[in-house]
């Protein structure tokens, strides 16, 4: 399953969009940005979105001119029994 991470330059931008998405009823969760998607960004928060909600999230972004860095697509990134801790 694909998952989408919305990345930001700072968490203020992230929290603003998080709030907008919540108010629009678009499920999203705050998550550490996956290392593979970060590019030149330092580690920090991102918003995790499931594919079904992507279009609605994009709509909220454009309607509110919300600021973000990029949207990264990641294939099957989560696994509860992987047992890789840090």
């Amino acid at each position: 399953m694909k998952r989408y991470y919305i990345l930001f330059e700072n968490y203020d931008q992230g929290l603003k969009l998080h709030d907008l998405l919540d108010r629009a009823g678009v499920d999203n969760r705050i998550a550490p940005a996956p290392a593979s998607a970060r590019g030149e960004l330092c580690c920090g928060m991102s918003l995790l979105i499931i594919p079904e909600n992507l279009e609605r999230a994009k709509k909220v972004i454009s309607e509110n001119n919300a600021v973000y860095y990029k949207i990264a697509e990641i294939e099957n990134a989560l696994e509860a029994k992987r047992d890789r801790y840090c």
Partner: protein
Amino acid sequence: MADYVKMWKELGMDLEAHDNLCQVLPTAVGDVFLTQENRPKAMDFWDLVISEVHGIRPAELIEEQKKGRKVFGTFCVFVPDEIIIALNGIVTGLCGGSQFWVPGGEAVLPKNTCPLIKASVGARLGKTCPFFRIADVYVGETTCDGKKKAYEILGEDVPMIIMDVPQMKRPKDIKKWKDEIADFAAKVEDITGNKLTVEKLKEAIDIINNKRKAMKRVYDARKSLNLPISGRDTLLMTQISFFDDPVRCAEMCNKLADELEERIKNGVSVVKEDTKRILVTGTPLAVPNWKLHNIIETSGAAVVCEEMCTGTRYFENLVDNSGNTLDELFMALSERYMKNNCACFTPNPGRIEDIIRLAKEYKADGVIDCSLKFCGLYDIEKKHVSEALKKEGIPVLSLETDYEDSDSGQLRTRIEAFVEMMKG
């Protein structure tokens, strides 16, 4: 977020090594937390903090230092936060919960030292923990031999205050801890340049009591058979509470508790009905140590309470603030802290009473007694814990583990078998 790099550089951190740590965190957080369904909305706060765990709070601490406030890094729940807060200092936890830091610790410590100590020393010496870099002074204590000796190594390049925790609980020991608190207050006065007053100390006692009450509200919600929050989420809340500002911590915990109480009213649960309820007891689980909780909660069970320093031992019992002199308040502090049933005390019947009481209060189906490898104190105490629980007819599983992933399969087998045994 680019400014964090600047901040870390100014803190003298090893950026390259630190980046390796940043690489693994998102996977672990994703696997452990974001695979859960129906998490409380109020977990947003802790999701944000863990996503920026070496960013947000360190930046705040540095801002406060610029105003002249001093930051005290602590290792143990015996350090009386109230004294530091009353003198306008800031308390922060320190790093020590990741395998990432263990090899650095092993470079200077014997291999058979507990992973918490090895990781703490490794985090300090490897320059990959901003909290260790920021703290103006570390406060250690004498709760185990490993820490006592490790503090001598840490003290080589940072000022350290060591508090001598009694090893027994006679009246003279409680008096001794009171004197130790008074000595500590004098040292914190020196470092902060502030003078302790009855008024300030009472205020600080209220602040920390409020934090304890708020955390207890969240834990109380887990007593409901309709479990409104997972053990993993509560553990994260507890772990972060060691690093956060106590007033904000109380506010966030209360907000979470509001939501959990609402969930109980509406019958919202995070687990299936036949999920077995587990009380875990033993050594602390420092952030980001989530292995035990994750394995339990992906094996048909849920953690409903932690009888640990990262759990009930942190917030149970309030400090009586009715005293009118510093001496009376120091005694009240000593009495509260000496109620902690750490395995460093001998004898330690209070811990067993606590475990049985908590197992009943939280309606646990079984107890998992887990200690970090090479922690002799908790390992030896397993015998009495297990005998007492068996006598009560409460199933118990004793485990020992460290921060490595490699024993996950064996832990899974034991924990799954324990759950199968409880299901009959």
